[in-house]
C-alpha cells in the first residue's frame, strides 16, 4: 500500500514528506510504547502512534519505518517536523483514534506484523522475543502479516457466531457510518423491537434470573 492511500483512508494531514507519498508500505504497526515497536515491528511499516516526542523519530528510523502517522489529532511541534524532514521521514496526522485508524487500514488490506511475530520470523538474524511459542491467533481466522501463520485448530464454524453474508454493508462499515436500520437483515431484531412485540401480544416477560437489589423488594438475598 502506498503512503498516499494511507493518507486518503485516514483523511490525514501531511506534516512533511509530501514528495514521498508514492513510497510503498509493507505492514502497519500501532503503539505508544516505543520499546514494543523496536521489539515487534517487522518490515517496512507505517508506524501509528499518539506520541509526538523525538523518540518516535529515533524509533522509526531504527526500524526503518516508511511513515509515521500521529493519531487522535496529535500534532508534532515544528522542531520534530523539521527533524523528520531532515531524515526524509514522512509524517502524517489523523483525527481518528488509534483503533479506528488501524481498523480502517487493516480493512483496506494493510496487514499487521503478527504473522511474522507469531511465526518467530524476524528480520534476518533477529531472534524471537519470547522463547515459548503459542500457536495460532486465538479466535482469529484472518492471520496478519505477509506470511500468514497457522491459526491452529480453531475453526470459525465451531467457535464463532458468524453473521450471515451481507449482514453488514461493507461500504458503510468502511466509511465508519452507523449502519442504517434497513441494512440490518430480516430476522435480526433489536431488544426494543422484541420488547414492543411482547407487550402487544400481552406476553409475560421472563423473570430475571438474578435480583438487582434484594433489599428494595424485601426478599432475602
Amino acid at each position: 500500500m502506498q503512503i498516499r492511500e494511507i493518507q486518503a483512508i485516514l483523511a490525514a494531514e501531511v506534516f512533511t514528506g509530501a514528495d514521498k507519498l508514492d513510497l510503498e508500505v509493507e505492514a502497519g504497526f500501532g503503539s505508544d510504547l516505543m520499546s514494543d515497536v523496536l521489539a515487534f515491528a517487522r518490515g517496512r511499516v507505517a508506524l501509528l502512534t499518539g506520541l509526538t516526542n523525538t523518540h518516535v523519530l529515533h524509533t522509526a528510523s531504527m526500524v526503518d519505518a516508511a511513515v509515521v502517522v500521529f493519531v487522535r489529532g496529535k500534532r508534532p511541534d515544528q522542531n520534530l517536523i523539521d527533524a523528520a524532514a531532515g531524515m526524509g521521514l514522512p509524517l502524517l496526522g489523523t483525527r481518528l483514534l488509534m483503533y479506528d485508524s488501524c481498523g480502517r487500514l487493516f480493512q483496506a488490506g494493510l496487514k499487521g506484523c503478527s504473522g511474522e511475530v507469531l511465526a518467530e520470523r524476524g528480520t534476518d538474524g533477529e531472534k524471537p522475543v519470547r522463547s515459548t511459542k503459542e500457536k495460532g491467533i486465538p479466535g482469529d481466522k484472518k492471520p496478519a502479516g505477509k506470511n500468514p501463520v497457522d491459526t491452529g485448530a480453531i475453526s470459525g464454524e465451531e467457535n464463532c457466531v458468524q453473521a450471515a453474508s451481507g449482514a453488514i454493508d461493507p461500504e458503510s462499515v468502511a466509511s465508519g457510518e452507523r449502519i442504517p436500520l434497513d441494512k440490518i437483515p430480516r430476522g435480526w431484531k433489536s431488544a426494543g423491537a422484541i420488547g414492543r412485540e411482547r407487550a402487544s401480544n400481552n406476553e409475560a416477560f421472563p423473570a430475571p434470573a438474578w435480583k438487582v437489589n434484594p433489599a428494595a423488594t424485601g426478599e432475602p438475598a
Binding site: D36, L38, A39, D64, E126, V129
Partner: protein, 144 residues
C-alpha cells in the same frame, strides 16, 4: 596477504536524563554503518540494540559513554556508565520487568522490553554491574 583494516571507532558521551539527545548516539552509529555499506538487516539489529542500551543509560544511570568498534566482521558496542547498577540482572532480563518511573513510561519507554530486546538482536551480550558503582554492557553482532 591483505592486511585487515584497523577498526573504525566511535566514542559518544551519554548524559543522564537528557531525553532530547537520547538516541542520537544510536542514530550516529547507524549512519556510520550505512555509509560503510553494511547490510540493512544487520544495521537494524545494531541500531535497535544500541538505542535500547543508550536509553537505558539516559533513564537509569548518572551518565556514561557509548563506544562502537566497527570491523567488517563484527560490530562491538560497549556502554559504560556510572550509576546505581543492576542489583539482579536475571530479573532485569525478564520481559516486562521495569523499574522506570511513570514519566519515563509516558515517553514510550519503561515497558520492561529493553534488555530482552537487546538480547534478541545481538550475538554476544555481556552485562557487568556493581550496585552503587555502575554498569557495563558489551554487545557483539557478527556480519555473516
Amino acid at each position: 596477504m591483505k592486511e585487515s583494516p584497523s577498526p573504525l571507532e566511535l566514542t559518544i558521551p551519554v548524559r543522564a536524563r537528557d531525553f532530547l539527545a537520547g538516541g542520537d548516539g544510536a542514530a550516529r552509529v547507524r549512519q556510520v554503518l550505512q555509509q560503510v555499506g553494511f547490510p540493512p538487516a544487520l544495521i537494524r539489529r545494531v541500531a535497535i540494540a544500541t538505542y535500547e542500551v543508550e536509553m537505558n543509560m539516559v533513564i537509569h544511570s548518572t551518565g556514561g559513554e557509548l563506544r562502537a568498534e566497527i570491523t567488517p566482521e563484527v560490530i562491538t558496542i560497549t556502554a559504560r556508565d556510572t550509576g546505581p547498577g543492576i542489583p539482579d540482572i536475571d530479573l532485569a532480563m525478564q520481559e516486562g520487568y521495569s523499574t522506570a518511573p511513570r514519566e519515563i513510561q509516558e515517553m514510550g519507554f519503561g515497558a520492561g522490553m529493553g534488555l530482552p530486546n537487546i538480547r534478541r538482536c545481538v550475538d554476544e551480550l555481556e552485562i557487568r554491574s556493581t550496585p552503587g558503582q555502575g554498569t557495563t554492557v558489551k554487545i557483539g553482532i557478527y556480519n555473516r
